[in-house]
């Protein structure tokens, strides 16, 4: 709908007076209250039937597949600074996503870059907070209509493009699947809001005594979501998910002005599953000490040599080097550079042969730790299955949704929002050392390369929790990967003495770096992270034979003019 008064972007000072429609800021809804008798679901079924039977125009094909997906999300979050609450907000929203396809699975309106946009994007519309029949039908009616019209136009643009462009081995547009019925029970959001607020007050109050820290924050968030889909090809699925997360972040500047920050993160499936408040407070204190220690550390210097990735840092390394590269293998027409960078390496060696990497979304925990990447049916309505990505060093598969690629046509039940993506990643190694032996090996390799020290990394920057001075990256371009920088890393001297590293970024990282993994630890760490969807990685420590670190830039921001008011003594 055209609302009045959109400010044209080119108008320098656009002044407008309007009826100030209340900012459509906040989304609505009761995420998870519907059951089998839900009016919303009944409306979806009735409007689906009407759309399939009657939505058509003269002289153009009718829809061949219509899918409606109801997404419910409920969440609560709060955060505090220095013991005082900064925000506390619940949110509740329901929306429905409409996918209307025209043509046939062999050739339809999707998977084509039509001048500036990728065709086949599903359209979402917000639903009422009430579980209501008629408003749902009203929204589905208008959205299906708009989707159908653009699908018809996209298909004809794609057919025209194919008449003038030769495309060898064009993959089909959609993999056929069996009808499926799978309904998971709904979980309403359960949270003790006052207890959560008390928790973040307590965790953030740790920094009241931290003289070297300029700013800090502790946050809690918990959410429950559900996704209910029906389609004209007999799909009837409902998947659900829950999570709870506590984070603490702190930031400051070193004497030379360099920004430094640190973080602590805990994930669980529900607030009850989080560690105790005492345990988290102790964790926040350790993080504050680690940060305060690093503030006074020397700046990073040029380094080429062995690097030991421990714990969650090893999991992030595998995520950014391998897992991200095997995700979204989509190869739409008109975008020759698209697809996984491994698209020509199937069955070839990509890691040392002592590594095997499997993704198994069907597992919900690992040795008592929840795996948030768990799902039983993927976002395309395909049953989840264990998937061997790398077998003894050889690439066996990448993440597949129902969008075929040239080398792999079938779905392997790994659709995350319609594109291939990870669930629970397990890295297994047949060449392991104990923690002590692995640290000794780091020094042995460093000594061998005639270096004064090796580098040990404990924490890497991550995209789901930001930290000052180390911005998460992980982007891939032209064969090289901008690996996220370390947050907490140490120089380990040959005599075993350790010294924190301040600043420092990786460089020269490529897909080939995977083959420089030299030996691994014998005890895996479990990482849960939110990156679009949730992903879990179970991975042992990794010793990489050669990595390159560069010096941080010389130019830094000035320090604050005045001391922190809590330590100014007035």
């Amino acid at each position: 709908m055209n609302r009045p008064a959109p400010i044209p972007a080119f108008v320098a000072t656009a002044l407008l007076l309007s009826l100030a429609a209340p900012s459509a800021a906040a989304p609505p809804a009761t995420a998870t209250a519907e059951d089998e008798e839900s009016p919303t679901l009944a409306a979806m079924q009735d409007e689906l039937a009407r759309t399939v039977e009657r939505l058509r125009m003269d002289d153009v094909p009718p829809p061949y597949l219509v899918t409606y997906t109801l997404n419910g999300r409920e969440s609560y979050s709060c955060s505090a600074q220095l013991g005082a609450l900064v925000d506390s907000e619940g949110s509740d929203s329901r929306s429905v996503t409409v996918d209307v396809r025209v043509g046939s699975p062999e050739l339809d309106n999707t998977n084509f870059v039509n001048r500036f946009y990728l065709t086949g994007r599903r359209r979402s519309t917000t639903l009422t907070e009430d579980d209501d029949y008629w408003t749902t039908r009203q929204r589905l009616w208008l959205t299906s209509d708009a989707q159908y019209k653009s699908a018809v136009e996209d298909l004809s643009a794609k057919e025209a493009w194919l008449k003038t462009n030769r495309v060898p081995d064009r993959p089909a547009d959609l993999t056929p699947v069996e009808p499926i019925r799978h309904r998971e029970p709904l979980h309403p959001l359960e949270v003790d809001r006052e207890a959560s607020r008390e928790l973040v007050r307590r965790l953030s109050a740790v920094f009241r005594d931290a003289e070297k820290v300029q700013g800090s924050r502790a946050s809690f968030t918990t959410g429950a979501s559900s996704s209910t889909a029906i389609s004209s090809e007999g799909r009837d699925t409902r998947t659900t998910g829950r999570y709870a997360r506590v984070t603490a972040q702190a930031w400051t500047q070193a004497e030379d002005g360099m920004p430094v920050g640190d973080l602590a993160v805990w994930y669980a499936r529900t607030p009850d599953g989080l560690p105790s408040a005492d345990e988290m407070e102790a964790g926040v204190r350790r993080m504050e000490e680690r940060l305060s220690e690093r503030v006074d550390a020397p700046r990073a210097e040029e380094y080429i040599g062995p690097v030991l990735f421990e714990g969650e840092a090893a999991c992030f390394l595998i995520l950014e080097l391998l897992i991200d590269r095997l995700s979204s293998p989509h190869e739409p027409l008109g975008l020759p550079s698209a697809g996984t960078p491994f698209k020509n390496r199937l069955n070839r060696r990509v890691t040392p042969n002592f590594l095997t990497v499997v993704d198994d979304p069907t597992r919900s925990e690992f040795e008592g730790t929840p795996l948030l990447g768990h799902f039983m049916v993927d976002d395309d309505g395909v049953p989840a299955q264990p998937l061997t990505l790398v077998e003894e060093g050889r690439l066996r598969a990448w993440y597949m949704s129902r969008i075929p690629t040239r080398a792999i046509a079938e779905s392997n039940g790994h659709s995350v929002g319609g594109e291939g993506g990870p669930g629970n990643v397990f890295v297994r190694s047949s060449h392991t050392l104990s923690k002590e032996a692995l640290r000794a090996e780091l020094l042995a390799v460093a000594k061998d390369q005639e270096l004064p020290y090796g580098i040990r990394v404990e924490v890497m920057a991550r995209s789901d929790v930001s930290v000052s001075g180390a911005r998460a990256n992980g982007r891939y371009r032209n064969g090289s990967i901008s690996l996220s920088p370390p947050v907490a890393a140490y120089r380990v001297y040959l005599d075993g003495r350790e010294e924190p590293i301040r600043g420092g970024e990786w460089q020269g990282v490529t897909l080939r770096s995977l083959r420089d993994i030299y030996v691994t630890g014998d005890a895996p760490t479990v990482l849960n992270a939110a990156r679009g969807g949730f992903v879990s990685v179970v991975c042992p420590d990794l010793l990489v034979e050669e990595m390159e670190m560069k010096k941080p830039e010389e130019q830094e921001a000035k320090l604050p003019y005045l001391p922190h008011p809590s330590f100014a003594g007035d």
Binding site: A12, T13, W141
Partner: protein, 579 residues
């Protein structure tokens, strides 16, 4: 450097104030006062360019937003936040860090902002203020260097006025306001009232919504100003949209405004407004598309208020008179006739009501701590004054209490309650007869009446055309031969400001209030415009840009006769009761 001495003197008084502050002042003010005093003392002369002015503007807002659509609750959300904006001026009032850097585009000045704790914890509030102050100070230092370089390399400015006016400090403290609204009752009412739209099958989207806000501002400056004041505001909005058969998107809005829950209309009045809106939209959907036209027209009172706000009000905002990128339509016109002598215009934010009607643009102090003032802008057609914030212009060295902004922005001069007054008024019936006479005189087939204008936009900058566009929602053609009036659609009102006003010839005695929000470089601020219906000798309209999408292929599921279970009106009521 005399002004610098003055600033120092004012600092001394500020410190005295802080010491004498009564113990029961809110923690928020106390925390800000202490950090302000420490910062100003510590930063004033720490660099060679002095910090001569420092102000904290804290905004605490609570809001409730409830909306219903077709009988169901669309949303019901509350929010609560506290923000701090810091203004740090470096240099001297004659030339400071806010001075325009010529040749460089900036949308507007932006202060350093911080999120403040919601809880009254002095230590946590001061820590947030400290870090925002440090950022504001560094930004201003850097900007002042650029200003000095820019002044050295550019030609002498046409308007050599100082950057900041000296104003006496104010001290005004009201009890903080809170948001009082019965959320559950509104949910129930808006479900019920939005269900009325179900009876109109041609509609695509519709809603009835409420937005209630309570905002407290706490202001403290190094000059000694201390302010605490609040504002509560309720707006009930009705909106509906559809598509004409030729693809044109159509929408209508209506709203009610007031300072409290009690001032909102009752169910019967809202229902009548919902039905009226739906019926007008139906007529609009069936109406013929307008042809480009230039000829006589009446701009109805509320629409006329919007018209003056856009084409006149924005051009007499003081800071636009010295910004060299601005069109400066009226800059050199003080003392000359800029509109027909029967018209006068005043902006008066001190008025809270017009008759019984609430005025949205009312305030006691502006966002620079200056008391609001009534400002006669045009008297008998002659331009007398501008809307002034603390940025002086040639001939207007002082603020007249019009420096306004929303949280997160720095204040500039803005409108409050704009009043358009006219002499020799006639009844609306007579004005309509005059329109028909004018149509005949000009030999046109018809004239126009603009009933409602949703808003619009105007460019005041030189790089854009000096033009405006307002979006009429409901326009009627009046024929000279006695045929019935006819609703038309697809109208855009265009023109250049000076030409449009000078062609006004008469006004009716039917003043009405338009309440709205105005967006510009200092954010969204509440405003009102009060005006009579006005006859214009010639106005220009053009065809609105139109969507090329066909209307939906299927009828609305609410009224699809071939679909199994269409709800009867009874059925619809039954379902609401079940909620």
């Amino acid at each position: 450097m005399s002004s610098f001495l003055l600033a120092l003197l004012l600092l001394a008084s500020a410190e005295a104030d802080a010491a004498a502050a009564p113990a029961d002042d809110p923690v928020l003010l106390r925390a800000l006062e202490r950090e302000l005093a420490r910062s100003f003392e510590g930063l004033a002369n720490v660099e060679s360019d002095p910090l001569y002015f420092l102000a904290y503007r804290a905004t605490e807002s609570k809001s409730l937003s409830v909306a219903g659509a077709y009988g169901a609750l669309l949303r019901s959300d509350r929010s609560h936040d506290r923000r701090l904006d810091v203004e740090a001026r470096i240099g001297s009032p004659e030339l400071d860090s806010t001075h325009q850097i010529r040749g460089e585009f900036e949308f507007g000045p932006s202060p350093a902002s911080a999120t403040l704790p919601l809880e009254d914890d002095e230590e946590a509030i001061r820590a947030a203020a400290w870090s925002a102050t440090d950022r504001a100070f560094k930004d201003s230092l850097q900007r002042f260097l650029k200003v000095k370089t820019n002044e050295a390399v550019k030609v002498e400015a046409e308007d050599a006025s100082p950057d900041f006016s000296i104003e006496p400090p104010s001290d005004y403290r009201e009890p903080m306001v809170d948001l009082v609204a019965d959320e559950e009752r509104w949910q129930e009412r808006l479900r019920r009232l939005s269900a009325v739209f179900r009876e109109y099958p041609f509609l695509h989207e519709s809603s009835v919504s409420l937005r209630a806000e309570a905002e407290n501002r706490v202001y403290a400056s190094s000059e000694g100003t201390r302010l605490i004041f609040g504002r509560t505001h309720f707006r009930l909005s009705i909106e509906a949209s559809t598509k004409a058969d030729d693809g044109m998107d159509l929408q209508l809005y209506d709203s009610f405004e007031g300072p409290s829950e009690e001032t909102m209309p009752d169910d019967a009045r809202i229902e009548a407004a919902v039905r009226d809106l739906a019926e007008r939209l139906q007529r609009l959907k069936d109406a013929p598309v307008v042809e480009p036209y230039a000829g006589p027209a009446i701009i109805m009172n509320r629409a006329c208020g919007v018209f003056f706000h856009e084409i006149f009000g924005h051009r007499i905002e003081g800071h636009r008179q010295k910004n060299v990128d601005e069109g400066q339509t009226f800059t050199k016109k003080v003392g000359t006739e800029i509109m027909p002598p029967f018209l006068s215009v005043t902006d008066d934010p001190t008025r809270g009501r017009f008759g019984a009607t609430y005025l949205n643009g009312h305030y006691k102090y502006d966002d620079e701590g200056v008391p609001a003032q009534a400002v006669p802008l045009v008297r008998d057609g002659v331009l007398e004054n501008f809307l002034m914030a603390r940025s002086p212009i040639e001939g207007f060295p002082d603020s007249n209490g019009h420096g306004r902004c929303s949280a997160g922005n720095a204040p500039v001069s803005r409108q409050g309650n704009l009043f358009v007054d006219a002499k020799d008024r006639v009844s609306f019936e007579r004005l309509r007869e005059m329109l028909v006479e004018e149509v005949r005189t000009q030999g046109k087939p018809y004239g126009m009446i603009f009933h409602d204008i949703s808003g619009g936009f105007t460019t005041t900058q030189r790089r854009g055309p000096q033009a405006f566009k307002v979006i009429p929602l409901y326009v009627v053609r009046v024929y000279a031969d006695g045929r019935d009036d006819e609703v038309v659609r697809g109208v855009d009102l265009v023109g250049t400001p000076l030409a449009s006003i000078t062609k006004m010839v008469a006004a009716a005695d039917d003043d009405a209030v338009f309440n709205g929000s105005c967006g510009a470089e200092s954010g969204w601020v509440p405003v009102s415009a009060v005006a009579p219906s006005v006859l214009v000798k010639e106005i220009e309209i053009e065809k609105k840009a139109k969507s090329q999408e066909r209307p939906p292929l299927l009828p609305t599921p609410l009224h699809d006769e071939t679909d199994g279970d269409v709800p009867s009106d009874d059925g619809a009521d039954g379902q609401e009761d079940a909620q």
